[in-house]
Amino acid sequence: MSRLRAAGPSAARTRARWALGTLVGVNALMLWFFLGMTASLGWHAKLLDETTLRSCAASALDRTNGDGRSVSPWSADLTGARFVGDATIRFVGDFDTYDDETGEGTATLEVECTLAVADGDSSTSAQLVVRRARVVG
């Protein structure tokens, strides 16, 4: 006979309840850690999403367009995004260009972009906004 059985059915029930409580508590704790990590990593990886890079490119190129010259960010192949600051990224894109004098062409440009959270929204599904974007090379 085990020590548990010798202690009686009441002690066995208490131990079973404790075990169940531990299972629920540990499970909730693990999910809290793992969901938190997944949400946090996903949130930060949003800075590297293609839609984010394209918004950055559009914002940066907006200033360079005009006077018969335009660079389109929408068909560009954007690669090599990397962090150069807390919320600042740099990436390279092969952009389609149009110039009144030379016609259509392609330009490889490097863009630097600083991002912020829209309206100070604190949720991880918040929209990102371009705070500053410029062509650096």
Binding site: R13, A16, V26, F34, M37, W43, A45, D121, A126
Partner: protein, 223 residues
């Protein structure tokens, strides 16, 4: 021969759940293969649940309700199945290891179901809902772990260093765990497999402990 203690079964559960982590660690198993195994286990659990659905016996008496239950199950599978399948099968690179791991996992799951049905006899339907629910939770955790691994990989490739951006640390625990992974220089695949295998291992070991204590309490009450 003295009857084998149920406590020794914990070792089997621990080894069975730690093995995939070891295989990922040594590069013999990919995270998408692991997710695929979880998907197939879920599909099998669904088939068993479908075969065992309690409303089958009510069908003769209350055809309408039985049909509603059947329709809900079929609809759930039609809606959720393809979504889960897309996320599961998309990243899998089919090779010998994948086929080997799928065969072993399916065989062991089928043997597990056969043993369970044989042991319970006419009461084989008991517990199939819980088993399916547990597989579903594991599938969700598997996709979550794979997503964490993929995000972590992208961030590492972009020279990311942890910082507070907006409320980017969704939960303080997430920040702690991410910084721990960075400090330990864990690779993205270890992060993903670590989440998945740790969650399953700890949960299943604790569940077995609850089961053992529960049975002892029931036995004590009966005596």
């Amino acid at each position: 021969m003295p009857p084998q203690s149920r406590w020794t079964g914990l070792l089997g559960i621990a080894v069975g759940n730690a093995l995939p982590l070891y295989l990922v660690w040594t590069g013999q198993l990919q995270v998408p293969d692991l997710v695929l195994v979880y998907f197939l286990e879920l599909a099998l659990a669904y088939l068993v649940l479908f075969a065992a659905r309690p409303d089958r016996r009510l069908a003769e008496r209350r055809g309408g309700e039985a049909l509603k239950g059947l329709a809900a199950m079929v609809l759930g599978a039609v809606v959720l199945g393809p979504v889960l399948a897309i996320y599961t099968f998309g990243p899998v690179t089919w090779d010998t290891t994948t086929l080997w791991i799928v065969t072993v996992a399916l065989a062991s799951t089928l043997i597990g179901y056969a043993a369970s049905i044989w042991r319970r006899g006419a009461r084989w339907r008991e517990g199939v809902v819980g088993a399916f629910a547990w597989r579903f939770v594991l599938m969700v955790v598997a996709l979550m772990a794979a997503s964490a691994g993929a995000s972590y990989e992208r961030l590492l490739a972009a020279d990311w260093e942890p910082h507070r951006f907006g409320n980017g640390w969704a939960l303080p625990a997430g920040e702690l765990l991410t910084k721990l992974a960075l400090a330990l220089d864990l690779s993205p695949v270890i992060v993903a497999a670590g989440i998945l295998c740790t969650y399953r291992l700890v949960s299943e070991v604790l569940h077995e402990v609850v089961d053992i204590f529960g049975d002892e309490a029931a036995q004590g009450a009966a005596e």
